[in-house]
Each structure stands twice: as C-alpha cells, then as structure tokens.
C-alpha cells in the first residue's frame, strides 16, 4: 500500500518535475535554489494529501500550493541563505545560448517585481488562468489581482523594452 503510493508519487514527480521547476523559477524570479525549495515544500505537502488528490488533480494542487507560497514570500524576510567562501557551482563554459540569455533577461525582470505582481503575471500569462482564479490564489479581490497583473506587466514592459522575436 505504502510502496504503491510512493511509486505513484515518484512517477508523478518525475514526469512533471521539469514543468514544475520552471513554474517555480518564474514564481520566485529566477533563483534556482529558491525555486527548488519552493517546489520541494509543495511536493512534501502533496505527499500527505496524495491519497485524496492522486486520482483527481495532483498537479493543480501543487501549482496552487506553490503560487500561494510564492505570493506569501514577500512577507518572508530570510530565506536561509548563508555566505560561503566558494560558490557552490560555477558557470559552465558554453552555457550562454540564446535561450539562456532570454531566460536570464526574463527572470531578471521578473525578479524586479513584487511577489504578488510576479505571481499575478505568471498565472495570467504563463498559466493562462482567468482573473478570478488569480484573485483566489492571491487571496484578494478580482480588481486587486487585475491591478497586480497590470502593474507587473507595465513594469516588465519598461524593463524588457520591446520584446522582439526570439534570437535563434
């Protein structure tokens, strides 16, 4: 029973890991470690409700947990970062490609937004969710969610300028 649960959970996580990590990176503004922390916290919560949501919709549950945690992250002041003498990982030579440049630009711009603006923009433009669901996830009225998204997009417009077609 427990093994079958663990196996099904592992299969789900392995199948959706890449998508969920990308969403987490967008939600936290590009920080990979924070994104993995956010995703892990959400998946741990998923584990305890897995028997209930496994058959229905585990991914929307994880997404909702991640979004709410990311929206609350503005109230959190410390992320457990500690200064170290050496960087934990070095940049790989040749890693700089057009996709990486574009992703870095996008993540740097998203990082400039407030957590709620970022969440509203990501939910609205990446997940294509209606404003009602954005408001529900943010825990605010629809007008406030619309305002967060509009201000976020306006700030991104300034930061990114005119986004042209991808350089490939």
């Amino acid at each position: 029973m427990e093994q079958s649960r663990a196996r099904a959970f592992d299969e789900f996580v392995a199948a959706r890991w890449s998508v969920l990590v990308h969403l987490a990176r967008l939600l936290v503004g590009g920080d990979r470690h924070r994104a993995e922390d956010l995703l892990q916290e959400s998946l741990v919560k998923l584990w305890f409700v897995w028997p209930k949501v496994a058959d229905d919709a585990p991914e929307p549950y994880v997404r909702k947990v991640m979004v709410r945690a990311a929206a609350r992250s503005g109230q959190r002041r410390w992320w457990g970062e500690r200064p170290v003498e050496q960087l934990p990982e070095a940049a790989v030579v040749g890693d700089v490609s057009a996709d990486v440049v574009e992703r870095s630009r996008l993540e740097a711009a998203l990082a400039q937004l407030s957590p709620k603006q970022r969440v509203a923009v990501v939910m609205r433009y990446y997940q294509d969710l209606p404003e009602g669901q954005v408001a529900e996830a943010l825990g605010c009225p629809v007008g406030t969610a619309r305002s967060h998204a509009a201000r976020g997009v306006a700030q991104l417009r300034q930061l990114l300028g005119n986004v042209n077609e991808p350089v490939r």
Binding site: H22, Q40, L106, V121, Y125, L156, V163, N164, P166
Partner: protein, 156 residues
C-alpha cells in the same frame, strides 16, 4: 492582449529548460517528508499531552465544585412537617397557654415533637378535639392532659 503581452507569454513558455528529476532530488524529497512526519508526530504528541493535562485538571477541579454545592442541599429537611403539625397544636396550647407549662415545652423541643408528631400530624388534633368534650380522665399523653387544664384556667 497586445504584442508585448503575447511575446511575454511566449517567452515564459519557451524558456523552459529541461530539468531531470535526479536521485538527489528524490532523496531530498524523502528527507523532507520524514522531517514533516516527525514534526506532525511531535505536534500530535504535544496535543494529546495537553488534552490529558486539561482533562486531569478539569477532573481535579470538579470534586471541589461538588463539595461546594453539596451543603446547599438541605438533606433532612422534612422537619417542615412538625411545623405544620405545630399550628394545630398551638391553638389548643394558646387556649391553655398560661397555666400548663407542659404544653409549651412540647413544641420547643424538636426531638420530642418529632417523636410525638407522627401521631399528632393527623390523629392527635382530631383526637384532642374529640377528647376535649368527652372524658379527660386517665389518658396519659401530655397533649390530651393539657386541654382540660387549659379550659380550667380559662374559666378562672
């Protein structure tokens, strides 16, 4: 949705990098689940301990309340019946009050009244009234002997 917003949505979707679920991620996830399990067990234990403490404190305080309430219950209060039986006796006593002290002492002592009342509650008053007009000769009880003396003093 204008051009910028469409490009923004495209950027968000296209910049997804493949990230495999590695064994280190699995181990970290398992460790997180174990930590959370322990935390939940600890919370449950603390909660049950608090519940037991609360129940024991409640049970400890409960008898105190019972003892406080207990004296308020007047247990052997049927002494109300002698008081009911006394008024029928008093009219006769008021009639015979001045001379005979035996009739006045009879209601004063509750023990004696309690002993004499069971017959006096229902039977003594009528019997006294019946005895009064009739012969008052040789009946030993004090209540029966009192009325003749009362009537005698009243006439004097």
């Amino acid at each position: 949705m204008d051009h910028f917003e469409r490009q923004l949505a495209r950027m968000m979707r296209d910049t997804e990098a493949p990230a495999p679920f590695e064994p280190k991620h699995r181990e970290r996830l398992r460790a997180g689940v174990r930590v959370r399990c322990r935390k939940r067990a600890a919370q449950r234990a603390v909660g049950s301990v608090l519940a037991v403490v609360g129940l024991s404190v409640g049970l400890f305080l409960l008898p105190g309340r019972a003892t406080r309430v207990e004296p308020s219950h007047p247990g052997p209060q049927p002494a109300a019946s002698p008081s009911l039986s006394a008024p029928p006796a008093t009219p006769d006593a008021s009639l015979s009050a001045p001379p005979s002290s035996g009739t006045s002492t009879a209601p004063a002592s509750p023990g004696e009244t309690a002993a004499s009342t069971p017959p006096a509650t229902t039977g003594s008053a009528p019997t006294a009234t019946e005895i009064l007009p009739g012969s008052t000769e040789g009946v030993s009880p004090s209540s029966t002997s009192a009325p003749p003396s009362g009537t005698a003093t009243a006439r004097n």
